[in-house]
C-alpha cells in the first residue's frame, strides 16, 4: 500500500461517492414528497376553471413513461457491461440510455406545449401550477441525468475508458438515473392515472 493510503477509508465497504449519492437520493425523496403532497392536496379541492383531466393525453404519456422505464434497463445493462469490462457495450448502452431520456424529455416538451395551447398555462390556476412545477422539476432531473450520461459517454471515448472507481463513475450516475425513473413511476400514477 502506498503511503498516501495510510488513511483508512470506508469502514462500511461502500464507496464514498456512492454513499454520498445514496444520501443525496434520500433527501430527493423529501423534495419530491413535498411537491407530490402539494399536488395531491389541491387535486382534491374544487376550484373553478380548467382541470388536468381536461387536457390529458393518456396514451401519449403512457408511451413516454414506458420509454423512461426502459431506459432503466439500458442503464443497468451498461453497468453490467462495465462490470464485465466490456467498454464497447458499456458505451452503447450508455448512449442508448441518454437517447431514451432525451426522447422522454422531448415528449414532455411536446406535452407542455400542447397543454399550453389548450389554455393550461403555469399561472392559469392551482391545478396547472402544481402540475407544471411537479413534472417540470422531474424534467429538470431527467435533463441533468442526460447531461451526466453524455458526459460519461464522452469520458468513455478517451483512451483509458470508464472504470467503476474514482471520479464521476458510472455507478454513481446509474443510481441517479434509476432514481429519476422511480420518481416517474410514482408521478405517472399519482398525476395521470389516479
Amino acid at each position: 500500500m502506498s503511503s498516501s493510503h495510510s488513511y483508512p477509508h470506508e469502514p462500511t465497504g461502500v464507496e464514498t461517492r456512492k454513499l454520498g449519492m445514496w444520501v443525496f437520493l434520500s433527501t430527493e425523496i423529501l423534495f419530491f414528497g413535498t411537491l407530490i403532497t402539494t399536488f395531491m392536496i389541491f387535486k382534491g379541492r374544487d376550484f373553478p376553471g380548467i382541470k388536468l383531466t381536461d387536457v390529458y393525453d393518456i396514451p401519449f404519456t403512457s408511451i413516454s413513461s414506458f420509454i423512461l422505464l426502459m431506459s432503466s434497463l439500458t442503464m443497468v445493462l451498461a453497468h453490467n457491461a462495465l462490470e464485465a469490462k466490456d467498454q464497447e457495450k458499456t458505451r452503447v448502452w450508455l448512449l442508448a440510455t441518454a437517447m431514451l431520456g432525451a426522447v422522454f424529455l422531448a415528449g414532455q416538451i411536446y406535452e407542455f406545449t400542447e397543454f399550453y395551447h389548450k389554455g393550461f398555462e403555469l399561472s392559469t390556476n392551482i391545478f396547472s401550477s402544481t402540475f407544471y412545477v411537479l413534472t417540470g422539476f422531474h424534467g429538470l432531473h431527467v435533463f441533468i441525468g442526460v447531461v451526466l450520461l453524455l458526459a460519461l459517454w464522452g469520458i468513455g471515448q478517451r483512451q483509458k475508458g470508464l472504470t467503476l472507481e474514482g471520479g464521476m463513475n458510472l455507478e454513481f450516475v446509474a443510481l441517479y438515473w434509476h432514481f429519476v425513473d422511480i420518481v416517474w413511476i410514482v408521478l405517472f400514477t399519482v398525476v395521470y392515472l389516479i
Binding site: I29, T37, F66, S72, N80, L193
Partner: protein
Amino acid sequence: MSENHIDHPTPKKYVQIAIVLGILTAIEIALYYTEDIVGVFTDPILIILAVGKFIIVVGWFMHLRFENKMVNRFFTGGMILALVLFAIVMIERASANFS
C-alpha cells in the same frame, strides 16, 4: 472494491425484470381505462402497482438489495419519514373548513 458485486444478476435477469415492469405498466394503463369495472378499488390497486414497480427498480436495478445495510436504512428511513409526515399534512389539510 466491495465484494458483493459478484452476486449481481445477469443481463438476462435484468431483461426479465424489465418485462415484468412493462407488464405492470400495461396493467396500470388498462386499469385507467376500465375504471368502472374495478370501481373504488382502482386507485388503491394503482398505488400498489406503482409501489411494486418502485420496489423492483430500487431493489434490483439500484442494487439496494445487495447494498450495505447503512445505505438501506438511510433510504428506507427517508422514505418512511416522508410518507408519514406528508400523510399527516394531507389529512390535516383535507379537514380544513373552507368558506
